[in-house]
Amino acid sequence: MLVLEKVSFAIDSEKEILKDINLTIDSGKLIAITGPNGGGKSTLARIIAGVVKPTKGKIFFKGKDITVLGITERAKMGISFGFQQPVRFKGITAHDLINIAAGKPLTTHDASYYLSEVGLCAKDYIHREMNDKLSGGEIKRIEIATIIARNTTLSIFDEPEAGIDLWSFNHLIDVFKKMHSGKEGSIIIISHQERILEVADEIIAMVNGEIVQQGSKELVLPELLNCSDPKSCLYCKDILEGEES
């Protein structure tokens, strides 16, 4: 369904953020991308969504070359993208955003369904503005609700767990499980969370702009979590630094 052929991305022709990425994502899969900060994960997600264009390589979606297509065209073809840092708007409510995501005006009742899906009390949030009065966790869950409302062939989430408290996080896992079981579409989740990696069909580990490991969770997860030399391993180092802070 999604194929990346030798995709590279460089800034000023010098610093290569992504290096010759080859990746195929089949229909109906839940893929987790993990790896240290600065490894290129978010850039890869943004390249798939069309937010940035690759400096080399091609991207195919549903068999069509979408490399030169813009964000809107890709969105209309069925790619959704949940931001790591959701964007805030003055005067645009959660209901407005869900309507835009669904592509049609929904009744309050119907729009509320999506907020309930992400564990928000719909009546408290449906008319709330998406402004800076919402907490990081609240706006993140509304962001995820908009992706569910889009119900597209490919949904990409960039660190959905960021800013979400532990209680909500447990619910979040259920949200992804439900999305995964309910349709043929594929889900890509960029995450550092072991519990998200556990529910994935396949895990991709990225380090320094390259895919260093890819495979089933049974194959990749034990290796990721039981590293023989964690101090010199970039991935483990990242986890360790996270724990220290």
């Binding site: 809107t72 969105a75 209309k76």
Partner: protein, 306 residues
């Protein structure tokens, strides 16, 4: 009323026909329809053009409509309207002005001077829309001046809207607040073409625990220019807040000039101003939801001015 006036009235007040209750419709410098109600008396001024709107004390939530409409080019209208709000009364005033130049190259202009005298513990919601229409090349000008004097415990909410259409506007709002009086002003403004808009606020908080909250949202497109001047003075224990949020597009220019003066150590005064173009992330977010660039821009502005 002619068809242009009827259309303007619909845009300014939302009404298709004359309402029940109190109203005064001003068309091309003359009162053309008027009705008082049991609690709201509307009478002509004898010394100058305009009306007195007298609301009886203890009036329970009632509406009064006072649209001023200029239906053709070449008219310069000047009106003085005074509102006397009795103690404990609760009234919504739907005002506003529509100016049309028709197909004339002569300009049309409306200058409205409104004075509000709010009695103790009264409540006023003042809704004002400014509309400019017409294919003519004449300038559409609206200059409103609003003067508010609030007695103890009174509350006033002013909602003013001017979206495109008006070539030049200079708005002046002055208020004096006594003890426990609250004033909330919400201004929405969009200018385009070569339009200019100046909005000046001057609020004196003289009474203990009085407060003012002034919120201005504006969009300046093309070559239009806006100036926002707010002067808030706290003379006692009081709370003042003003916020100017502006989006600039194309070659639009916005100036925000705040002046907050605390003449008492118990006065708390805050001014916030943010001027900038539409954030790139906002556009990208809405485009990832399937909107085109143009649709995303329109949605952001619609929400911002909502």
């Amino acid at each position: 009323m002619n068809d242009i006036t009827k259309a303007l009235m619909k845009q300014v007040t939302g009404l298709d026909e004359l309402p029940e209750g109190a109203y005064n419709v001003r068309e091309d410098s003359k009162s053309v329809a008027r009705q008082s109600s049991e609690n709201i008396d509307i009478v002509s001024k004898t010394d100058k053009s305009g009306i007195d709107i007298i609301v009886k004390p203890n009036t329970p939530s009632e509406y009064v409509y006072i649209p001023a409409l200029v239906s053709c080019g070449g008219i310069t209208d000047l009106v003085y309207n005074d509102f006397f709000i009795g103690e404990n009364a609760d009234v919504t005033v739907v005002a506003g002005c529509g100016v049309s130049t028709g197909d004339s190259c002569d300009g049309s202009e409306h200058n409205g001077i409104h004075r509000f005298f709010l009695g103790k513990n009264s409540r006023v919601k003042y809704v004002e829309k400014h509309i400019g229409v017409g294919e003519g090349t004449g300038k559409r000008v609206i200059n409103p001046e609003t003067v508010v004097e609030q007695e103890e415990g009174s509350f006033m909410l002013m909602e003013t809207t001017q979206i495109k259409g008006v070539d030049s506007t200079e708005r002046i709002t002055k208020a004096i607040l006594k003890e426990n009086a609250t004033l909330v002003i919400k201004e929405k403004l969009m200018t385009h073409g070569q339009q200019t808009a100046v909005s000046k606020f001057e609020v004196d908080m003289n009474g203990k625990d009085s407060s003012v909250n002034l919120i201005s949202r504006s969009v300046a497109r093309e070559h239009s220019k806006q100036t926002f001047i707010s002067k808030i003075t706290g003379n006692t224990q009081c709370m003042g807040h003003s916020e100017c949020d502006a989006i600039i597009m194309d070659h639009g220019v916005v100036s925000a000039i705040p002046q907050i003066t605390a003449n008492s150590v118990e006065a708390t005064l805050i001014h916030e101003a943010a001027i900038g173009k539409i954030a790139g992330d906002q556009m990208i977010k809405l485009m990832t939801l399937g909107l085109t660039e143009g649709e995303a821009e329109a949605k952001i502005i619609e929400g911002f001015l909502n």
